[in-house]
Amino acid sequence: MAKKQNTTQPKPSAAAWTPIGTVVGNASTGEFTFILKSFKSRVGDLVAVKMKVPDENYAGTNEIYVWGRVLGISRYNPFFPYEAAQELSEEGVSLQDTILSNSRDQLEASVIILGCTNVGSEYKNLFPLTYPVQPAANVLYPPADIIKELLAGGIPGHKPMHIGTLIARRDVDIAISADRIVSRHMAILAMTGGGKTVAARRIIREMIEIGYPLLILDPHGDYLGLWEKRHLFPGTKVQLLYPHIAMTDQNRHIIEVLIGKMTEGLTEPQKDEMGTILAETDPDEGESVLSYIGNLKDAIQDKIGRVDGNKRKTLSVCMRQLSIVESRFERMEQTNDRMRRRMKKLDFEQMKDPQGRPDAIIAPKTVSILYLGGYDHLTQTTIASILLEALYEHRANLSNRIPPFLTLIEEAHTFIPSSREGTGDVPSLETLRKLITEGRKFGTGLLLVTQRPSRVDETILSQCNSFLILRLVNPRDQNFVKQIMENLSEQDARMLPGFGPGQGVVSGQAVRFPLLVKIKMDEDLIYSDLGDENFMQQVSEWKPDKKAGVRSRAGATLDNLANVPDRRPKKPFRGADLPKSGEERWDAIRKKFLKDKRALGEIEAATGMDWDRKRRSEKISKLAALTWDQLGKEKISADKRAMLLAMLEVAANNNNNE
């Protein structure tokens, strides 16, 4: 029941409250249905019913406005029989040419009740309705200024963020609570082309206006335009970062994290050994991870030469895992570098160490965009995990080195995949779980953006207290959204596939009640060099690179040489006859290992090559005693034999160098 409010009198609205229909059927405190006048309202509109309810003491009545949102409108022509449709189709006759009627459509609108306000008091004080809507009551279409007042009510003291307008009424702006987003998290869910980046950009812009620190994890470069358009945000620092994990004396444990997250991990003895090596190998301040890994490998190599037995094996494993991390990092840095170089206009900076220099990433009036393009998913999630873990620690330790901040995570399904995806625990999953559950305490808010909600971890997503759902066509995604959003009505869920770009439903703690919204498009923030790739145009305009002519001419010349007869006759067993060549090479190399006491695993560690996990414990001397053919009889395939041969050649070469 609405409480009697002795607040200031509302300003009289200039426009009238237009009657648009009549309540029919069974009305309750939660919903009602009304027959709508033609063309007088549409889905998403806010409507009102004026009626009386008992006052607090049941001594009299109060007059209230009941507010509701039009959830759905069904339209039917009671004068058009089904069977007539069949006949018209069969005969190819237009309805207009016959005596059938098509002018008396009936519109039945279903409304979900949002609450009520007292007549005569301010519209921003919304109370739950505790007395059912009066059947046959007039349904009113309120003027825009009244709706604005109702929506502007929001949460007292909270900063409103303008995100767009009502779908049904472009004259009514919608604002969401910035406070609720930064403390209670929000998710933007939409299929590709649904407008999720547009919505995210809108929120970012509003956050920038507030001066709230922002961190954006951007795997596709959707937010790089913010840097290009930074002149639109005077007084705000927008920085483009590329991942660089700089080593310091304090953060050398990153290597253990990387090994743990990028490889199968280490056993406890192996971890001990790795810890020792890390302790013994000091990184240079600011040294890159790759360089430090190289130093660690050298240190291990050095140790391997001085130990044997199990210790040697343990070190070999450490060596191998470091090689894997090194190779992955190398690859991703190269790709990211190539992609950054393509965007010549943009000025990327190396990301500072989040452990040592978090304030270089998170600061008031600072937007840090971490471009993760080109990195594989595992690497992206590892970087995100390391970065966010470090930032969270700073907040959780109450060290006051960084202020509260909001992290926007684009492609959230990559960073917090559902267990159903079978990707296992990606590194960022646990970190983000911590951020989302503790974020309210420490000010580490998340804005998750994804086009595949069903592939996101359900527990984490359901921790978001506010949702902006734009167009979703995939039935699995729709069902998933229905599961995690308790207040999403069936009718709203049915609308999801039909939303146009930028249209959606916003609900949760950031708004007073669920609203159908059209997101405002910030066209001035779109990065000019990105957007949809036009491959057709690229092909039509494609020209070979400058060296293509050289390649072509050189190739033709060399091809001609093939026709010139050899001055010396070819040796009979050279060329493509690899087995014979392999046999010859094997006979030459194996003699060097006949007395070698090392196990094959040690050879692998020494060379950094993988040969055969199952045979790592076997002595190399045992295989060296066999001929090429005998190796075959030992069930070692031709490929394996070739690999073994290559490994021994590398090992022999290393021995010679030593």
Binding site: F79, Q86, E87, E91, Q96, D97, I99
Partner: protein, 448 residues
């Protein structure tokens, strides 16, 4: 006026039809006619049931033979595109009424409304369709305390009073609709065009009140009293007003009835033709129809094929022998409807169409029936003019309107009874409301 339409010449079915004919014997075995036949034959003795189909087949074949020979069965070409093109731009009006099933306690409330739906085929403007409530009446049949009753006095058979109001209002709505814009070129009413009125013609049947007359005859109600204000006179006046307009007027009945009037009249007429096998055979035929209770709708369903119709036949609904002396001379002036049965589709029952006697409507029977057949074929299963279906839905008094009337009257009665404080009166009121003693209100309690 309809004369602008290109008038279709009636085609004799036996000569002109080019569609594949389904023989009577085969038509009789269609499931749709079988159901109606079964319904009739099940009410008969075992022997009659056994012979029913055989008799019906014989009758249908024989009568069809004679009708074909006389050229009394006509055929309408089924062609939606051409038909609607021909009727484009001509306002067509459909009229039907709805009666509220309100029941009073000690009162006789009546609620009737008659709507019209006028449509101009082919028109794409907003003027294409016009829905109008031509006549609405919510009143007491008779109210001695005020001049608001429909009749001047009450009559013991209140259902007759109600019927008379409904019949008159529908005719009055027809008259009214013809005065509205756009002026209809065709007017189709639902139900019989000329009803039997003798039952309402005795002296004790009350006259319409001033209020009733104002509603029924807005231009000609002043000074009417006594016999001139009685139903038979008012109804005749309305029929004459309709008959003398330039519109093409017909009424349509879709429900099967047990009437054999058309088949009997038709056989009488056939007896006077050269096709007749003789008076005895015709008499025998009529006896068979009576003995086996073969109704007009069943017989003509068996006889008529798709798009076929009978020569409109004049029938006497108000036979002299039944006319009460008090209004005999008035009833004698009633028109004789010209009735035909029309086969809309092979699998649907024929509809009964009635015209005024005298000359054909301006557009001719054939054009009216062509329009009705094509309107009915828009609902191929129900096979009833779609325009009448539309106006029926429009004018129907929905249940939600009926219930509150009854509830409100019940509450008033109980309140009055409670105010008396007399337990016997209260009990009596409760019984009146509930209608039975076996209601929870009368359940014995612990103290009796």
């Amino acid at each position: 006026m309809a004369t602008a339409a290109k008038k279709e010449k009636p085609r004799k079915a036996a000569q002109g039809a080019n569609r594949k004919k389904i023989p009577v014997s085969e038509r009789l075995r269609h499931p749709h006619i079988m159901t109606e036949m079964l319904r009739i034959s099940l009410g008969q003795s075992a022997g009659a049931q056994r012979d029913f189909l055989k008799v019906l087949e014989g009758l249908a074949c024989g009568i069809r033979e004679m009708l074909d020979a006389e050229g009394w069965i006509y055929s309408v070409p089924i062609d939606h595109a051409k038909t609607w093109k021909d009727f484009a731009g001509k306002p067509i009006c459909f009229v039907d009424g709805g009666v509220a099933s309100a029941q009073g306690l000690g009162a006789e409330p009546i609620g009737v409304r008659v709507g019209s739906y006028t449509v101009i085929p082919g028109d794409t403007s907003e003027k294409r369709e016009t829905f109008r409530m031509e006549k609405q009446l919510v009143a007491e049949l008779f109210d001695s305390s005020s001049p608001d009753g429909v009749y001047e006095d009450l009559y013991e058979d209140t259902s007759k009073l109600r019927d008379a109001v409904r019949i008159s209002l529908e005719l009055a709505a027809g008259v009214s609709s013809l005065k509205q814009e756009p002026k209809p070129q065709f007017l189709f009413l639902h139900g019989a065009l000329i009803n039997p009125v003798s039952a309402y013609g005795d002296e004790s049947f009350p006259a319409f009140s001033k209020k009733g007359l104002e509603l029924l005859l807005p231009d000609d109600h002043k000074g009417r009293e006594g016999r001139d204000a009685k139903f038979v006179t008012v109804c005749l006046e309305l029929l004459n007003q309709l008959k003398h307009t330039k519109a093409n007027i017909a009424s349509v009945v879709e429900r099967a009835s047990g009437s054999q009037l058309v088949s009997m009249t038709l056989l009488d007429e056939l007896q006077r033709t050269d096709s007749s096998p003789g008076p005895q055979a015709i008499k025998e035929t009529k006896n068979k129809i009576r003995d086996f209770r073969i109704s007009d709708s069943v017989l003509f369903h068996a006889i008529l094929g798709e798009g076929e119709y009978l020569k409109p036949t004049e029938v006497d609904r108000n036979v002299d022998s039944k006319r009460p002396n008090y209004s005999r001379h008035i009833i004698a002036k009633y028109p004789y409807p010209k009735v035909t049965y029309v086969g809309v589709g092979e699998f649907s029952q024929p509809i009964r169409v009635e015209f005024f006697d005298g000359p054909e409507p301006p557009a001719g029977y054939a054009e009216c029936i062509r329009l009705l057949i094509h309107s009915s074929r828009l609902m191929p299963n129900y096979a009833f003019p779609a325009g009448l279906d539309i106006v029926d839905k429009f004018a129907k008094v929905p249940a939600w309107m009926n219930r509150p009337i009854h509830s409100s009257m019940s509450v008033q009665l109980i309140q009055q009874a409670l105010e008396t404080g007399n337990t016997r009166t209260i009990d009596a009121a409760k019984r009146m409301v509930c209608g039975t003693r076996r209601d929870w209100l009368f359940r014995p309690t612990h103290n009796g």
